[in-house]
């Protein structure tokens, strides 16, 4: 319902604004970083560039979650798993790129395998020295997992908290598995010490800027895609599935197919986000599978405002920006601030920050209308039940 009012209020101008802001900001950062010397006041440091890149990856991840949660009503508490899998696929490629520049100078094996006495590269590492293969896996692994998992779950009509909890179990199990050194993904230390990506050194500023741009493009692309989907009839069906699944079935929709479709797409988007994230932060480790990460991700979306797409993006960026700032200025107390923020947003802003704006938008409109029609006497009442 909000969706439609929202749409009527902003129409797709908002989408354009969104893209404008996104590309404007990235371009500005790029220019400031590349064209101004490091000591200039206008220079934007590599730190800011990577930070921004990280936020955009999170935003993409949040967007992916908003698609399934906001529009399809599937509260996935395991989306971090898809993100991490995408990240691992990228990490494996980056690991292979190191070649014999590792500490042991072994051209075939990553360092952690050398000192744990692995004699040869396990089969599932094969192919990751090719970028195209890794890129394929970035899409395929999360997508396939989501497909299989979703197929099982939606077919047997697992819904609500049951679904949420098994997604959580999924990511938890994956976390435990990846922690195991024997699985061959570097255990808890994960994959690090990457050197270069497609021949570009990851330590150079231009690569960083390039990654930032790539992330911005991915985010914009995903945004347009999601926007298109949610604006299409498919989007309306998906909303219908969210609100009254059995009704949708009786109207003739194979709701499990819709859910599966959206879930898989979302997982792929999350995987892409993870893949872009890894080269920018320089490490991928099983901690990313932690169920708490996935819960936090849900919180970003809620803070921004669910089922709006913008909301997810804004929420992810704001919360993470807040984290960056607060961990710096009040290291001992920032958890209070963060926790307080979550509580306050849910209690006072049921539709998130975006909701706050759009509601005020209504009010402004109402005020305008009142000015036109002096008869309108009363202001709207807040809430229904006491």
């Amino acid at each position: 319902m909000r969706d439609s009012t929202f749409k009527s209020a902003f129409s797709d101008r908002a989408a354009k604004t969104f893209m404008g802001v996104l590309f404007g900001a990235t371009l500005l950062v790029t220019i400031l970083n590349q064209l101004f010397p490091a000591d200039s006041a206008l220079h934007v440091s590599a730190y800011t560039v990577t930070l921004l890149g990280k936020y955009l990856c999170y935003a993409l991840l949040a967007l992916a979650l908003d698609l399934v949660w906001g529009y399809c009503g599937i509260l996935s508490l395991g989306h971090g798993a898809f993100f991490a899998l995408g990240g691992y696929a990228m990490g494996m490629y980056l690991m292979r790129q190191i070649g014999d520049r590792g500490v042991y100078g072994n051209p075939d094996l990553p360092d952690f395998m050398v000192f744990l006495n692995w004699s040869e590269l396990p089969w599932y590492w094969q192919g990751f020295d090719q970028f195209w293969f890794a890129a394929l896996m970035i899409l395929l692994v999360p997508g396939l997992l989501a497909f299989v998992f979703g197929w099982l779950a939606f077919r047997s009509r697992v819904t609500g908290v049951y679904l949420s909890i098994i997604t959580q179990a999924l990511t938890y199990a994956l976390m435990l598995a990846f922690f195991r050194n024997e699985l061959g993904f570097g255990g808890n230390n994960g994959l690090t010490d990457f050197k270069d990506l497609l021949g570009f050194s990851l330590q150079s500023d231009s690569t960083r800027v390039g990654l930032l741009m790539a992330t911005a493009v991915a985010l914009a692309g995903a945004f347009v895609l999601c926007r298109w989907i949610t604006g299409s009839k498919l989007g309306r069906v998906v909303l219908a599935v969210r609100d009254a699944e059995s009704r949708a079935r009786f109207v003739g929709y194979r709701t499990e197919h819709y859910k599966l479709w959206i879930f898989t797409l979302s997982a792929i988007l999350a995987g892409i986000a993870g893949a872009l994230y890894v080269p920018q932060v320089g490490i991928i480790n099983p901690g990313e599978f932690s169920p708490l990460n996935s819960i936090e991700l849900v919180v970003w979306v809620a803070v921004g405002g669910r089922a709006t797409l913008y909301g997810a993006v804004i929420g992810a960026i704001l919360v993470n920006y807040g984290k960056t700032v607060f961990t710096g200025i009040m290291p001992e107390a920032w958890l209070f601030a963060l926790g307080g923020l979550f509580v306050a947003v849910t209690v006072f802003l049921p539709h998130g920050l975006v909701g706050l704006v759009s509601e005020n938008w209504e009010k402004i409109k109402a005020r305008l209308n009142r000015n036109n029609k002096p008869s309108g006497s009363a202001r709207p009442a807040e809430g229904d039940l006491s």
Binding site: Y47, D100, R101, N117, N188, T192, G282, G287
Partner: protein, 404 residues
């Protein structure tokens, strides 16, 4: 600048806060103390504390922030290896300086990092020697949390034990997840393994939170130190302060420092710590000593180099000597690891350790283990002309990244 900025990179929230926040306080205490003495090179030290929140990528990000935004001259930080691994590329790229104060699995040596905690040969190997020689242990349970540090340490120990003639079937290896809390089956397995007639000991690389339930279960199932002693590498005074040590008396730990060591430097350090925290129940521990040594060495190196420039300080660091808290002198070696004594302590019912054994002299920290096939031939030497963290003595080349 008229101050020298010191970055403090320890988690103050999240799972690791429990261990790391103590080290943050230690660094702050050292800085305060140093400033009272007039600072370094006449400049005051200014701490910059950030919270990487037990989140590994955040460690890298915060490091970048510390170095590029805050322009710190040195960073004291990290606890877990994974956080160090995450930080490593960043300090190398930005040519920063990191002091890492915790025992770890080795297999690393970076130009920009000084390792003041123990390498495996400064903790695990002497401990096993003690078990074999003094306690006449013949069977070993290698119990650890399932991750890199225990895995590596156990790999090294396995090789070492075999070289000592311990047979395969007298070694039991067991891994548990992080934060494992239900130890019933494992303890009972250990009990069974230990009741086969041969003297048995447990070598524990169990990490952090899992230790409390582990020791509680040992106590309850009646595994006493006389029957099956447990020697741990991650259990210090701090960890014991959360356990009822009554039933644990006699279990062992191997460290380079114990609070109970009696000498004037240590007594002064403990008093200072109590005064700083305003709590005379607070304990000191090995990573604190490592921080203490690292900090003092850095101060000396800066004064010696008369600069805070990373390269100059790093060069000046090598060979620096500073008193450690156990009565001897710590030396920074060419491989950026320390020479320190190794002590074995038994847990006492007041939560302290009584030293029951000590190495003769100092043990030199070894970056590359001699007991792993991959690293047998590697050495680390950051002095000219080698200047290499992983120099292969067979091929006479400097491998990998550090070659540049």
């Amino acid at each position: 600048a008229d101050t020298i900025k010191v970055g403090v990179l320890h988690s103050l929230s999240g799972t690791m806060a429990i261990s790391e926040s103590t080290l943050k306080d230690t660094v702050l205490m050292m800085i305060e103390e140093q400033n009272k003495k007039g600072g370094v090179m006449g400049k005051k030290l200014e701490p910059v504390v950030v919270d990487p929140a037990s989140n590994w990528p955040l460690f890298a990000e915060k490091t970048r922030e510390l170095i590029t935004q805050e322009n710190v001259d040195v960073i004291f930080g990290c606890w877990t290896s994974v956080s160090r691994k995450s930080v490593l590329p960043v300090v190398e790229e930005l040519n920063g300086l990191l002091f890492y104060p915790v025992q770890y699995e080795g297999e690393e040596s970076s130009k920009n990092v000084f390792y003041t905690g123990a390498a495996p040969n400064q903790q695990a190997i002497p401990a096993v020697d003690y078990l074999i020689n003094d306690l006449e242990v013949e069977r070993f349970v290698l119990a650890g949390t399932d991750y890199v540090y225990p895995r590596t340490t156990n790999k090294i120990l396995e090789a070492y034990l075999k070289s000592k003639g311990v047979s395969e079937k007298d070694i039991m290896i067991n891994y548990t997840p992080f934060g494992h809390s239900d130890w019933q089956s494992i303890v009972s397995e250990i009990k069974a393994f230990g009741s086969q007639g041969k003297k048995t000991a447990v070598v524990s690389t169990v990490n952090g939170d899992a230790n409390v339930p582990f020791y509680k279960e040992l106590g309850n199932q009646g595994v006493s130190a006389e029957d099956i002693p447990v020697v741990a590498f991650s259990v210090g005074e701090e960890e014991l302060s959360g356990i009822d040590t009554g039933p644990l008396v006699g279990h062992l730990a191997a460290w380079n420092y114990f609070q109970s060591v009696y000498n004037d430097t240590n007594n002064a350090f403990i008093d200072q710590w109590h005064a700083y925290t305003g709590d005379d129940k607070r304990v000191t521990n090995d990573p604190m000593e490592a921080t203490y040594i690292g900090f003092n060495m850095w101060v000396k190196a800066v004064e010696k180099a008369q600069s805070t420039d990373t390269d100059k300080v790093a060069d000046a660091m090598i060979g620096i000597k500073t008193p450690n808290l156990t009565g001897g002198t710590a030396v920074m070696n060419k491989n950026h690891h320390l020479s320190k004594p190794v002590l074995i302590g038994e847990i006492q019912d007041d939560g302290q350790f009584a030293v029951v054994w000590e190495t003769e002299g100092l043990v030199q920290g070894d970056a590359w283990s001699d007991f792993l096939p991959g690293s047998k031939d590697l050495i680390s030497d950051w002095t000219a002309p080698t200047r290499c963290g992983n120099y292969n003595t067979k091929t006479n080349t400097c491998g990998g990244a550090s070659a540049e």
